[in-house]
């Protein structure tokens, strides 16, 4: 089931992103954190001490929980918009 709501807006071009070497389809300019979440990629990183999985939480740039690696740089995914060919790493990247 596509969880997109299309009553109000048309999305832009369909593109592919690469998440842990897996291809995910999305539309250009969509919010990365949301696209990962609705594709059931919810475990984005591990917490520093207990090494528990963490994911998107506040979605407004406050909590810093949704950090992923994009082209080997750490970024909060709630403030990243999808571009074609984006390479993303999630999970146990923070060693």
């Amino acid at each position: 089931m596509d969880l997109r709501v299309s009553n109000y807006f048309d999305r832009s071009n369909k593109v592919n992103i690469n998440v842990n070497n897996k291809k995910i389809e999305a539309y250009e300019g969509e919010c990365l954190a949301v696209v990962l979440f609705v594709n059931n990629i919810k475990k984005l990183r591990l917490s520093p001490k207990k090494r528990q999985s963490r994911g998107m939480f506040c979605l407004m740039g406050s909590c810093q929980e949704c950090v992923v690696l994009i082209d080997d740089k750490k970024v909060i995914s709630c403030n990243v918009f999808i571009k074609d060919g984006m390479k993303i790493k999630v999970g146990d990247f923070d060693k």
Partner: protein, 472 residues
């Protein structure tokens, strides 16, 4: 990249109050810059959809209001710095921010802080598992990004946001498995007389509740999520009734939870402004006079940042703060100031009745704090549990900054934004003292993590003037 561009006033935050204050200043000929982390105006309440979204025909009301804000900013030719995250503000005033490629510094004579709020979420065992999100995050997914978070969802916490999110999930084709509210139905009925003072919001509320009622969504009053854990195909949600102690388990895909809003005090704490604790206004807030001047000369707080009064009041609070600035800087006369502010103050008094009623629905019951299990992680950034906090208190940490030094609570990337409120509540409850006595976390820079590559910028190592090492 240091760029010392100078402005008369820098407005931090492009929500409704930031925009109204920026326009008010621009109208009088001041050189204004408005800074926001998002890619457009609107703040969180009118959060703009991504720029690539093309509107078809009908629009959500929030998106229409956002368009108006954008148009006004253009009309008054106000300089904007979107996609810029402010990480340091120092006296003078110097504002440091970073974007996708570099850092930048601006200077201004005055500051209007319109950074609004973030969500208050009282921890429970399992609130850290991926799939548990904020209720406000859920509204952003629905109304700005135009997705439903999952096919099925449990909504928990308290206040009107529960109803709003339920309405939009249903409207957009999702299923609400349950609504879990710490308030009672009587609390809601008691609040109606006050809520009706704001007919527009009241009508919206009735519309939401009607939809929830029609769909026969299971509604748990006086209840909370006590525990959540992952199971095959989703999350097991353990619901606990705070009054009669009854428990029930349900399985869903996502939990969205929120208990109201907390004013953002990052910048005012950094500037060492005076703060006071006011539970009704959202917790620790910068101390302001009735025209929203902070204790620091030249710093004004617009919007919800110095006490929550809601979106409708935000525009007026922006006008009030900026009028104070214009008067202090002698851009308007005493007569004009009195004339401008008289009506605004009257309007704001009316909004206060509504804000107080919302506060009651969003209050944090004592039993909710007591229901937090000892093993629950409170500081998500540093994995600090409730029992670790209480152990530090037993060992002698009697103030929140001591607890921070003792445990690392609040030292992580979020700088305590997520755990400050809950920690204060837990410790005050444990010591049976007022939250005022525990103090607040001293503001420390950077208030948001700054990527080092942005600070360094582009340089050629060979061209750097090397300084000889000091003799031993």
């Amino acid at each position: 990249m240091i760029n010392n561009r100078k402005y008369d006033v820098i407005v931090i935050g492009a929500g409704p109050s930031g925009v109204s204050s920026a326009i008010n200043c621009a109208k009088k000929g001041l050189k204004v810059l408005i800074v926001d982390l998002n890619s457009n105006s609107g703040g969180q309440i009118y959060r703009a959809p991504p720029k690539t979204y093309k509107s078809i025909s009908k629009k959500l009301e929030e998106n229409v209001i956002q368009n108006k804000l954008s148009d006004e900013i253009k009309k008054f030719k106000i300089e904007t710095a979107y996609n810029h995250t402010v990480w340091q503000v120092s006296p003078g005033f110097k504002v440091n921010a970073f974007n996708e490629t570099s850092t930048i510094q601006w200077q201004s004579k005055s500051l209007i802080i319109a950074t609004g709020t973030y969500e208050k979420i009282i921890p429970f065992e399992g609130w850290t598992i991926p799939g548990v999100i904020g209720l406000a995050a859920c509204t952003v997914i629905l109304k700005a990004h135009h997705f439903i978070p999952s096919k099925k969802i449990v909504l928990a916490g308290n206040g009107p946001l529960l109803m709003l999110v339920a309405y939009y999930v249903i409207q957009f084709g999702g299923k609400v498995d349950a609504i879990i509210d710490t308030s009672s139905k009587i609390d809601w009925i008691k609040s109606t007389l006050s809520l009706i003072t704001n007919p527009k919001n009241f009508r919206d509320g009735i519309k939401w509740i009607f939809k929830i009622f029609l769909k026969r969504i299971p509604f748990y009053s006086n209840s909370t999520v006590e525990k959540a854990f992952e199971v095959d195909g989703g999350i097991n949600v353990k619901i606990r009734n705070l009054k009669n102690g009854k428990a029930k388990n349900i399985i869903s895909e996502t939990i969205a939870i929120g208990h109201g809003l907390i004013p953002s005090t990052d910048i005012t704490r950094l500037l060492r402004a005076e703060h006071i604790y006011d539970e009704q206004k959202g917790g620790w807030i910068a101390k302001v006079d009735r025209f929203l001047r902070s204790s620091i000369s030249g710093v004004y707080i617009a919007g919800d940042g110095a006490g929550i009064s809601g979106a409708l009041a935000a525009t007026d609070k922006g006008l009030l703060a900026s009028s104070a600035l214009l008067y202090d800087e002698k851009f308007i006369s005493q007569t004009e100031f009195d004339h401008n502010t008289y009506k605004i103050l009257k309007k704001l008094d009316k909004y206060e009745v509504f804000a107080k009623a919302i506060f009651k629905l969003n209050s944090t019951p004592k039993k909710l704090i007591e229901s937090i299990n000892n093993g629950t992680v409170i500081c998500r950034c540093e994995d600090i549990t409730k029992s670790e906090i209480l152990r530090a208190v037993d060992q002698g940490a009697k103030d929140i900054n001591q607890i921070k030094s003792w445990t690392r609570l609040g030292m992580g990337p979020c700088q305590g934004r997520t755990c400050h409120y809950a920690t204060s509540k837990i410790v005050a409850e444990y010591l049976n003292c007022e939250i005022d006595n525990l103090g607040y976390l001293t503001g420390r820079s950077p208030i948001r993590p700054v990527p080092l590559d942005r600070v360094l910028g582009d340089f050629d190592y060979e061209k750097i003037t090397k300084v000889e090492a000091a003799p031993l």
